[in-house]
């Protein structure tokens, strides 16, 4: 297997040197280039097409989030990991919106850094666990807001019963057997559910149900 090709973008030389050591000695990656500001990061990324970019946020000129945006518009197979001092949620969400697939704090350890580079190269998303907790808290907050505004949750009891089983991954046959209905009736109720939730399939229906708290959790299934 060929080695993972990494580009470093950070305006602090000593930090880049440390990163290079970690990447090449502990990670067995190849550092293909080093950029000291956002503009240079974009130029080198386009020229070198690295697998992964380790990107600082605050750099002179174009910052890391703007650079990430430009890079992800041009290169679809390059994964950007933000490596920063900033713990604020807004930076995480801005960076993810710009196309970053990883977000680590600079006080992370080398093992986590290496695991994140490997995961992002495979196309996965990785966050520092502390940041993941913030993302989770924010997700809870917006899903409460979404539940409060929900106008589509007017499902009948029968439809809610079906939807609850869809959430748990049951197919139509299993739902029919459990609720003593014909498969036809289950299919009809599902169609109604899709229409009310504005979705096209059962996966979307299940996620919408959970996201908006439509499926009441108190009924025993």
């Amino acid at each position: 297997m060929s080695k993972i090709r990494v580009l470093l973008a950070d305006d602090h030389r000593l930090f880049r040197e440390g990163l290079r050591q970690i990447c090449e000695v502990l990670g067995d990656f190849i550092v293909v280039g080093e950029a000291t500001h956002g503009q240079e990061a974009v130029a080198l990324a386009v020229q070198l097409e690295p697998d992964v970019i380790l990107m600082d946020i605050r750099m002179p000129g174009l910052d890391g989030v703007q650079a990430t945006q430009q890079i992800s518009e041009r290169l679809h197979s390059t994964g950007v990991i933000i490596l920063t001092m900033y713990r604020q949620e807004n930076y995480v969400f801005e960076a993810i919106k710009a196309g970053a697939r990883g977000y680590l704090l600079k006080d992370t350890d080398s093992r986590t850094l290496i695991e994140t580079v490997c995961a992002v190269q495979r196309g996965e998303a990785m966050l520092d666990p502390g940041m993941a907790a913030r993302v989770l808290a924010e997700f809870r907050r917006i899903s409460q807001v979404a539940a409060g505004m929900d106008e589509v949750a007017k499902l009948t009891d029968g439809e809610t019963d079906v939807l609850r089983m869809v959430v748990e991954g049951a197919d139509n046959k299993a739902i029919a057997a459990r609720l003593s209905l014909s498969e036809n009736t289950v299919a009809n109720r599902l169609r109604e559910i899709y229409q009310k939730l504005h979705v096209n399939n059962r996966t979307q229906a299940a996620l919408t149900a959970v996201r908006r708290g439509i499926v009441s959790l108190d009924a025993d299934t």
Partner: protein, 160 residues
Amino acid sequence: MVSQSFTALPISIMLVCHDEALRLTLLGWLAGVSDVQVMAEACPPPDEAAADAPDVILFGAVVLRLRDVQRVAQLSAQCPRSKVLIVSRHVDPDAVVIGAFRQGAWGYVTVADESAATMIDAVRTVSRGGAVLSSGLIRWMLDEIVQAQFGHPSKDEGGQ
């Protein structure tokens, strides 16, 4: 921050698991670990919870059902200082797992493909205030947040 490692108390754990085999597996995994301590194997009544709340509530399930999600919600409400970590024997549908996270869980691991070491790492992570989620779910939640905040999903939608 002086000599913290020498004075740190073990992570206290309450194990909630109705499946005997899974319960024994989890107890076995925790038995030899020096920085964790199983203090209870059931849920304390609400009055005691505040005083005696464990650091981590380890919630074991063979298959995660909506009624388990409801239980997670109750435990989280009862013990707001404790972090609920779910250990499931199956890889459960995303919607149910998301439901559990929405209701207060801070971590989810499956016994199916994770080792004891992974679970214990997860216990340590949630006890320190971190969250343990799969890459796919992080991606999904981030897209939800980005969509709520900015009106459209992130550049590189994972396609869950």
